[in-house]
Amino acid sequence: MSVTASHLRNFSAAPVCHDIQINGQLVGLHDSGVLWWPDESTLVVSDLHMEKGSSFARRGIMLPPYDTGATLEKLAGIMDAFDPARVICLGDSFHDPDGSDRLPAHYRAMLSTLQLGREWIWVTGNHDPVAPVRLCGETVDEVDFGPLCFRHEPVEKIGSTDAEGEICGHLHPAARVRRFGRSIRRPCFVTDGTRLVLPAFGALTGGLNVTHEAYSMIFRRRQFSVFMLGNDRLYPFTASRLVGD
């Protein structure tokens, strides 16, 4: 099922999303790794980790300085397609607290352009616990809209009311499946219908396999599904089909 045009403010072709319900709300998962909430015209993106390259360079590890550019270009494409009224960056938007200060001028301009005419919410993360400097947007530790709650780190309790409608990031989920004697590993969304973990969006962000014990704090064993990011669609799997790294 695709997102209908009426959900979009302009009338260009609607990006195809995989629709699911979280805590009773219809939301769309997109193969770029973003969440689209049509009723609220809200786009959610997690773990951008901008300026990760320069963060490492400060310590003498000269990673390619192209990560922020690559991340922003990809984000710009998404913005163009969805044209959301509200954007929620789900934490770890910058790789370290000084990241927003280091942001090169042309990227700052690019980001500011993306923010024009939209409500922009920076949720704080463990990498960026403070508000970004010289950028628009409201900074919050977590935020509720209707039945959904947006925070960076999932609450480590299963079945508590805190977990109901929780949309989070932090874990950089990735999954692996095997077929034809080969295996393939991709970033993914993880959900049990109550809460949803978004994959990391940033260009230099790795993934943590969903079979890792960290996930056992938030999902009952094998009682969740993943949506792996493919080249132009998502691939759903139940937990029992997945293998570890």
């Binding site: 990760k52 320069s54 490492f56 360079a57 400060r58 003498g60 590890i61 000269m62 990673l63 390619p64 300085p65 192209y66 990560d67 550019g69 690559a70 090169p104 950089h172 499946v177 095997r178 077929r179 034809f180 004697g181 080969r182 295996s183 393939i184 991709r186 260009a203 230099l204 962000t205 790795g206 943590l208 064993r221 792996m228 493919g230 080249n231 691939y235 759903p236 799997f237 139940t238 089909r241 293998v243 570890g244 790294d245």
Partner: protein, 834 residues
């Protein structure tokens, strides 16, 4: 040459042991006395090591005891070996003459295992002779104390030089030597080597190259002779298998050989082969002969035990991989059994040299081919051995990632004058042709990552001062360098821990505890699912799951491991042996030397199809079941065949032949698909000449490589050696997976945004020379131009049987793509609809 060259103390010592100094030992003293660097080529058992040290011992005897702290009290002689165990072993052996002659010589070892207080002391109060490894040399040279430490260095001895120069460690050492020559003008080098194909390469490696266009050579002393080894090919009553690498058919014969000899050394090509042979031998070991197993993945403690038992003479046989190829003296081995393909003539000669360390007695060896093609290969190796032919590879061109590491090391020791450093680097044979632009890019890479986007200037590791010299920006950078020095990048390894089996059907967590059996490559475990069984440490174990950096396994009753773990040897068939095999195939008169069943096989091939010509390429096509097969026989080694297979599949797909997969081994390559290949070729709709056109190495190759996991693995190694990403150190693994940046991601970002980056260039070069074997593939395509013979057959030919049997045993190649995801997702649908 006269023994009078030796001081009386030495003459007496030789006499007291009933020995006489050998001519090559005296020659070496003479050359060194005259200031000449020298290459000594000698077979095992010729007293090579003592020869290497004698010139230094004589000089030190004449110098007399050095007063501590006296001027010129630095290191006199460096001995560098590829193995730290070898350095320690040699030091022990050298103690004997030093003590017996009461020489005023202090000798010490320095390896990664040397405690730091001792290393510190060595810098303040260095020994006369230091025995060490290439990595330690790099570390010492990055120390500001190196100038003082090496100012009075006179001699460098390079042991097992033939082995050292074939890897990036050899590049690192070449750069180290260039620096040592600058610190100690007049330095002499001694190279100790087994017989090689091109001694001049090693002679050039040993000396300073004054001129980029010509090459200077060291002196050479060659010890010829030594008894001809007594080599035979195992004659078995059993049927030689068509394919496979297990040699299971020959195990009873091998066991009989072990019984009839005192101590046998069994060489195999891979870890899994070692496991299999060991298991099979014990299965029939009714006399409970002490037979042990030794390979690089076993726990270190386990390996040391085997080595000690071997040295003590309490073993009858050891099954070993190349982990035992080199150096260390294992006492009285009277038989070497080489199981499987020899892969190269020189490689085999070195293995055989491990038997019988006395030069005048013949080494005895038995070759055990594990399939029919290997019979041909063994035969070719045997002929090469009789002629004394060698097929060691030509000298490497220096790698750029190693250069980057070295430049940073030099900067840690002293401010850099780039012009001087450039000249110094080019004075080594390995980097003689390095151009200034590449060198500058490397310096730029070390300083700021070498990116076109100059955004890291403020974080630069190297900065140019007002005096024009380059310095490290912070002392921390030197610390970082020291943690990351070296060129050996281990494949990510997982510990294998034995746990109690999980009861089926119950969801109890796997029990912790249990002992560690050893280590295994991460990529091997990656293809496994819990419940799969495989051979490890001599037993069949069941994979239970992965916890952090440990693979949990349990014991199982099963005899047959489910996962065929043979992934091909690391070394492809040498060009030289390949030629031997091709020429044997093309010359039926030479078949008399072959076992009957192998001869029959070739004769039927001649009758039913065609024999591959020596310089051409035979391409057979035939239908089988509902598919069409193409088999060709380039004999250029597995790596080149894999590359060719990948490229042919892509090309055939574009031409509408609907290929589905391919499999490659050292001798042949088979591609299969849905299109009628016989018809497509014979009708001329697909021209074979066009299919094998050399331009296949152009765009097709680039397109495939871009996505290839093989390139990503190569990139990871380059990035670690060049210092772009840090090594994982023991203890860091716990956090490692989440915190370190994946090299795959860096590769993707770099390729998308700066495809001309120097590190991508280095990666491409490494892959082309190593895993892809591009140059060999290029030579093949040139050789067969206009000489391709097509044989369209109604069914499979005798020669094609081996490669077809490997389908399903060897991995079928292809890249992990979305199609896998789609197929896995479809499975799910089918399951749901049942």
């Amino acid at each position: 040459m006269d023994a009078a060259l030796l001081p009386p103390r030495f003459q007496n010592w030789f006499a007291s042991r009933g020995w006489a100094p050998r001519p090559h030992q005296l020659q070496l003293i003479d050359h060194l006395e005259n200031g000449h660097s020298t290459l000594l080529i000698a077979p095992t058992g010729a007293g090579k090591t003592l020869a290497g040290f004698l010139p230094s011992l004589v000089e030190l005897e004449q110098r007399g005891k050095a007063r501590p702290g006296a001027a010129g009290g630095g290191i006199h002689t460096l001995y560098i070996s590829p193995l730290k165990a070898l350095a320690v072993d040699i030091a022990r052996n050298l103690e004997a003459p030093v003590t017996e002659m009461d020489l005023p010589v202090r000798l010490e070892t320095r390896t990664g295992d040397t405690p730091s207080h001792k290393r510190q002391r060595q810098k303040v109060n260095p020994p006369d002779i230091l025995l060490t490894t290439p990595e330690q040399i790099a570390l010492l040279l990055s120390d500001p104390a190196s100038t003082r430490l090496f100012a009075s260095l006179k001699t460098v001895i390079l042991d097992e030089l033939h082995a050292l120069v074939t890897s990036k460690r050899g590049d690192l050492l070449a750069l180290g030597l260039a620096r040592l020559r600058r610190l100690a003008p007049g330095l002499r080098t001694i190279g100790l080597s087994a017989t090689v194909a091109r001694p001049d390469d090693l002679r050039a490696y040993l000396v300073e190259q004054p001129d980029p266009d010509g090459r200077a050579l060291s002196h050479i002393v060659e010890v010829t002779g030594g008894a001809q080894p007594d080599i035979s090919i195992l004659e078995s009553e059993e049927r030689v298998p068509w394919s496979g690498h297990s040699s299971r058919y020959a195990i009873p014969d091998v066991y009989r050989q072990i019984k009839h000899h005192n101590v046998s050394l069994l060489f195999v090509n891979t870890r899994s082969q070692a496991e299999m042979v060991f298991q099979e031998l014990w299965r029939i070991n009714d006399d409970t002969l002490p037979i042990a197993l030794h390979h690089g993945s076993l726990d270190v403690g386990q390996r040391r035990k085997v080595e000690a038992a071997m040295a003590a003479g309490s073993l009858r046989a050891v099954v070993a991989t190349s982990s035992l190829d080199m150096g260390i003296d294992w006492g009285d081995i009277d038989l070497v059994i080489n199981i499987g393909a020899p892969k190269g003539a020189s490689r085999l000669a070195q293995r055989i040299g491990r038997a019988n360390h006395r030069m005048d007695e013949p080494s005895k060896a038995v070759l055990v081919p594990s399939n029919r093609f290997e019979v041909l290969e063994c035969q070719a190796a045997l002929a090469a051995s009789r002629r004394g032919d060698q097929d060691t590879p030509p000298l490497r061109k220096g790698a750029l990632d190693v250069l980057a590491q070295h430049v940073l090391g030099l900067a840690c020791a002293d401010p850099l004058d780039l012009n001087a450093v450039y000249e110094e680097i080019r004075s080594s044979e390995t980097y003689r042709t390095l151009d200034w632009e590449t060198f500058e890019r490397i310096v730029d890479f070390v300083a700021t990552g070498g990116y076109a986007l100059k955004s890291y200037e403020q974080y630069a590791k190297l900065r140019k001062g007002k005096d024009g010299l380059w310095r490290i920006a912070h002392p921390k950078i030197a610390q970082q360098y020291r943690l990351n020095v070296g060129t050996i990048v281990e494949a990510p390894m997982l510990k294998v821990r034995l746990v109690r089996a999980k009861a089926d059907g119950r969801r109890t967590p796997v029990g912790r505890g249990g002992r560690v059996l050893g280590e295994i490559e991460e990529y091997f475990i990656e293809q496994m699912a819990p419940g799969d069984t495989f051979l490890f440490g001599g037993e069949v174990v069941r994979f239970e799951g992965l916890r952090e950096n440990e693979a949990y396994v349990s014991r199982t009753q099963s005899d047959n491991p489910m996962i065929p773990s043979y992934m091909g040897g690391k070394f492809p068939l040498s060009t030289y042996l390949a030629e031997g095999v091709r020429s044997m195939l093309a010359t039926p008169s030479s078949w008399t030397a072959l076992p009957d069943q192998v001869r029959d096989w070739l004769e039927i091939q001649r009758d039913k199809s065609v024999l591959p010509a020596r310089d051409g390429l035979l391409v057979e096509t035939f239908p089988r079941a509902d598919k069409h097969y193409m088999v060709c026989y380039p004999f250029e080694g597995r790596l080149a065949h894999q590359t060719l297979g990948m490229l042919l599949t892509k090309r055939l797909e574009r031409l509408g032949a609907r290929p589905m997969g391919f499999v490659a081994n050292d001798y042949a390559l088979s591609v299969w698909g849905l299109g009628d290949l016989s018809e497509l070729f014979s009708s001329g709709r697909i021209s074979l000449d066009a299919l094998f056109e050399q331009d296949i190495l152009g765009d097709d190759l680039d397109a495939w490589l871009a996505e290839s996991s093989l390139m990503k693995r190569t990139f990871r190694n380059c990035a670690i050696i060049a210092g772009l990403i840090e090594r994982r150190h023991p203890g860091q693994e716990k956090t490692g997976r989440q915190v370190t940046v994946s090299s795959d991601l860096i590769y993707d970002v770099l390729r998308a945004h700066e495809p001309d980056h120097i590190l991508l260039k280095a990666t491409w070069k490494d892959a082309a020379e190593g895993l892809l074997d591009i140059s060999r593939l290029g030579e093949l395509l040139a050789r067969i131009r206009g000489r391709i013979t097509h044989s369209g057959l109604p069914h499979v030919s005798p020669l094609a049987v081996p490669i077809l049997l490997e389908i399903g045993k060897e991995p079928v190649y292809g890249e992990a793509m979305d199609s896998i995801l789609a197929a896995a997702a479809e499975d799910l649908v089918l399951e749901a609809m049942k």
